[in-house]
Symmetry: C2
Subunit: 215 residues, 2 copies
């Protein structure tokens, strides 16, 4: 198993949205999923399940619904070709992903047991507030990092939330689980990292919001 | 910078709840926070901020409220001394953390811009549904992994959600941010990993819920 250094991996894990259609070996995917399952979860409940979608017809189902949502929600956000700002390049990559989703070798559905934060009383849960999935996201981040370490491109998407009921029915997902993320996975056309982020000091405080850290 | 392999780190990052009171150097913490900020987020919004709480009085504020919540919500779950089941040991560690929270050198508050899943319409957001913080949890997982790689014990806690308004006021946190997690950080009394998880195959499916993966 490849084992790049943790920090090297974290510093070069970008959202990779331009992916080759070459297949990904099931064994490699299983390594990725196993890495996901190593994450800690409240009371070690391990509230996740995975659906590896690689069949052409099933990928088309996802791709068609995804594109519908992109067109409905974001058609005003197709950046002009001359716009080379960071925002425009990121948006263009999002459209590229949407337009080519059916060609991505694997669309991974990460499912999670529907849960709620402590702050939401029992009576305000099912049907009233969306689940938090706080115990599933650490598993998702492990998956994204493991993909990077194994040379696979991936990106966390959540637009499927807008066609959730069709999705649940199509993939026969039990009601106690929701689909937390759809992660397209494949070998990248581009290169990994470096990522562009604000320096940590600019968002870190000591003891009170607004106090410099380190002091 | 220490750079243990990614998989070695992921396979040995347990929730560490028994921590020494020895101080943690600010430079080391900054490495941890910087690792957090490398995470991807929707449109690269980087919607996180951190408050490093190390002052005695401020830690006591958090510890007192945390213990109140533990006592109110979980007093029925103090396991008997002879109970050596995994669940009992985990619960005992949670009580240990609660009883000793004021002695942990750093209580890290990870704040996040309040957001909602696409599935929650604008009108049902503020004051009605809790934010999802889906773009903050990947940063949190990076923090937990970075702690492990640097020899620091840490664990994700969310009980503070039950005293959120007092917390926001005390630490002067602007309303557009919520506290997503409180992460106690310190040098561990025990040892890292291995973690105990169900095999990935038992929670992985191919194309439909219920179909074996790998096939």
């Amino acid at each position: 198993m490849s084992d790049l250094g943790l920090f090297d991996v974290m510093y070069s894990t970008r959202a990779m949205r331009r992916l080759k259609s070459d297949p990904v070996a099931p064994d490699l995917l299983l390594q990725v999923l196993e890495a996901g399952t190593q994450a800690a979860s409240g009371q070690n409940t391990q509230p996740w399940s995975f659906i590896v979608v690689s069949d052409e017809k099933d990928k088309s189902f996802l791709a068609t619904h995804y594109r519908d949502v992109m067109n409905k929600q974001f058609s005003d956000y197709r950046p002009k070709i001359e716009d080379q700002s960071k925002g425009a390049r990121s948006m263009r990559a999002a459209w590229y992903l949407s337009d080519n989703l059916h060609n991505v070798p694997v669309l991974l559905l990460v499912c999670g047991v529907r849960d709620w934060p402590f702050s939401v009383p029992e009576k305000d849960r099912i049907g009233k507030a969306p689940p938090s999935y706080g115990s599933v996201y650490p598993c998702i981040q492990n998956i994204l990092l493991a993909c990077r370490a194994l040379g696979l491109g991936a990106t966390l998407t959540t637009l499927h939330q807008l066609f959730e009921s069709e999705l649940q029915e199509y993939f026969a997902i039990p009601n106690e689980y929701g689909v937390v993320a759809m992660i397209p996975i494949g070998y990248p056309k581009g290169h990994f990292g470096p990522v562009h982020r604000k320096p940590a000091q600019t968002v870190s405080y000591l003891n009170r919001w607004g106090n410099n850290f380190p002091s």
